[in-house]
């Protein structure tokens, strides 16, 4: 940088000197002509002819000397200016290249860090340096990343507080609910002492308490799932037996609505790794939905079979079906049928969301297929345990 300034300065000085020398030469030459002209006038007038002649000759040779001098000085100056210019231009070129590269590095770093930040690496920062412009840019980037990281931290903390709150609240609510349910049951133990109206009132209290308990259990499951604390204890399980068990527990509800329930089980199914209570919960949830959302007299089919490396459990019905816009959100929380249905059915609106979490904890999948007027099918797939005996048989 300094060298470049000096060289450029030198070139400027050279040019200035050249101009000054040129001026001096012009002045000296014109003075010399003046003297020669005066001498020639003297000669014409016949005054001191010898001296005049001598002056003419000396002025002519003086001008010759001046010309020689100026041409050599011009050459020197030109050299100086040329050298200065070349050096200056080289310097400028070098400086420019340096400038570009000193900007390029920080910009490349910035692009790289932005990519990492966008990819979720909130630790991404750039080194601040180089030109003041890129340094400012880098500083701004780092501040932004800092802010993002701070907010992400706050959000995580809020999430944890929410999970903790739900866990604690559902725990604390359980004791008073135990009393309400317990004493309502106690009253019904002496039903013969109550008049029918009173007995019915107690039944209502009990129904609502049970609903509240279900809601609480579901919320607790979801909070656990969100907090990554929904644990399963899988053991090798006969899925078909589990399905039969779930169907048995639900049989009375289907009979109460005059619904036909058909169970079809493929023989020789491999076992699955399953937490029996949790998979039973999923199956009961699907059967309860079919029972409650289908009209009286509807047909419900449960099929257990093999699908590649999975055991597949289908629960299908010939009920009203699910409109496309609802089907898309059916596994989301509190996503339910239309308001009238919901009122009648009275579930918690959390069952399918929990079922999905539970099935996925088993490394399985759950999906739904339906169209209005064409019934619905819910399909659960659980990975089968690879049986060496079976492999040999095949």
């Amino acid at each position: 940088m300094i060298a470049f300034a000096i060289l450029t300065g030198l070139a400027v000085i050279g040019v200035a000197r050249f101009l000054q020398q040129r001026q001096d030469f012009e002045n000296a030459t014109s003075r010399s002509y003046q003297r020669e002209i005066e001498a020639r006038n003297q000669l014409t007038r016949g005054e001191h002819p010898a001296a005049a002649r001598a002056t003419i000759v000396s002025q002519q040779s003086k001008r010759q000397a001046l010309r020689n001098e100026i041409s050599s000085e011009t050459r020197d100056t030109a050299l100086l200016v040329g050298a200065g210019l070349i050096a200056g231009l080289t310097g400028a070129a070098l400086l420019f290249t340096g400038l570009i590269s000193s900007m390029r590095r920080p910009l490349e770093d910035l692009v790289d860090a932005s990519g990492r930040l966008a990819g979720g690496d909130l630790d991404a920062r750039v080194e601040i340096g180089g030109l003041s412009e890129t340094a400012t840019l880098g500083g701004a980037f780092n501040e932004m990343a800092e802010e993002l990281q701070r907010r992400a931290g706050e959000r995580d903390q809020l999430d944890r507080m929410k999970d903790e709150f739900v866990l604690t609240a559902s725990h604390e609510l359980r004791s008073p609910l135990t009393s309400v349910q317990g004493f309502a049951e106690l009253l019904l133990l002496e039903r013969e002492k109550l008049d029918p109206k009173q007995a019915e009132t107690v039944e209502v209290i009990l129904d609502n308490t049970r609903h509240l308990v279900r809601l609480l259990n579901d919320l607790l499951d979801l909070a656990r799932s969100d907090a990554g604390r929904l644990a399963i204890k899988p053991v090798p399980t006969d899925a078909a037996a589990l399905v039969e068990e779930a169907v048995r527990t639900m049989r009375a509800q289907f009979d109460a609505r005059a619904q036909r329930l058909e169970l079809e089980i493929e023989p020789g199914l491999p076992r699955v790794e399953a937490d029996r209570d949790r998979i039973r919960q999923v199956l009961v949830n699907l059967l309860t939905n079919a029972n409650e959302y289908c009209p009286e007299g509807a047909g419900i089919g449960v099929k257990v079979g093999r699908n590649d490396a999975d055991v597949e459990i289908d629960v299908s019905d010939d009920g009203p079906g699910i409109p496309e816009d609802q089907l898309a959100h059916i596994f989301e929380r509190f996503s339910r049928g239309d308001a009238g249905e919901t009122q009648r059915v009275g579930g918690t609106g959390l069952g399918l969301a929990i079922s999905k979490s539970l099935v996925e904890l088993h490394a399985g999948t759950i999906d739904a297929e339906s169209a209005p007027g064409e019934g619905s099918t819910f399909r659960v797939r659980l990975p089968a345990i690879a049986s060496p005996d079976r492999a040999e048989l095949n």
Partner: protein, 122 residues
């Protein structure tokens, strides 16, 4: 019928448990925290047939009381009542010889069946 030692820090739940157990014909002694449980067991002239302890109580929990009693060689069958749906607070307590966890709200049919099973009653 069985002599049951019941512990819960909620008076209402103690009343509920006492009433239901007495209707079933059991003899009931109550305790409001773990220390009362330990004291009741030490002072008992006739040993209890079964303990029904709330897992979480202030001062001394049912679990801590049971640990202390097991340390003294008390082998009485024990049911732990817990507000947690996943059983024993996520912990196993395998060393405490807990016979079953009863979750709140209490399923009394299951509770009575367990008591009968553990005390050899019907």
């Amino acid at each position: 019928m069985a002599r049951v030692l019941v512990a819960d820090d909620s008076e209402t739940i103690l009343l509920l448990l006492r009433t239901r157990l007495e209707i079933e014909g059991h003899g009931v002694e109550t305790a409001a925290d773990g220390q009362q449980v330990v004291d009741a067991v030490r002072d008992a002239t006739t040993p209890h047939d079964i303990f029904l302890l709330d897992a979480m109580m202030p001062r001394k929990s049912g679990i801590d009381a049971l640990r202390e009693l097991r340390g003294e060689g008390v082998e009485t069958p024990t049911l732990i009542v817990s507000a947690h749906t996943d059983g024993g607070n996520g912990e196993d307590h395998a060393d405490l010889a807990i016979d079953a966890y009863i979750t709140k709200p209490i399923d009394f049919d299951r509770l009575f069946a367990k008591i009968a099973e553990l005390t050899g009653g019907t």
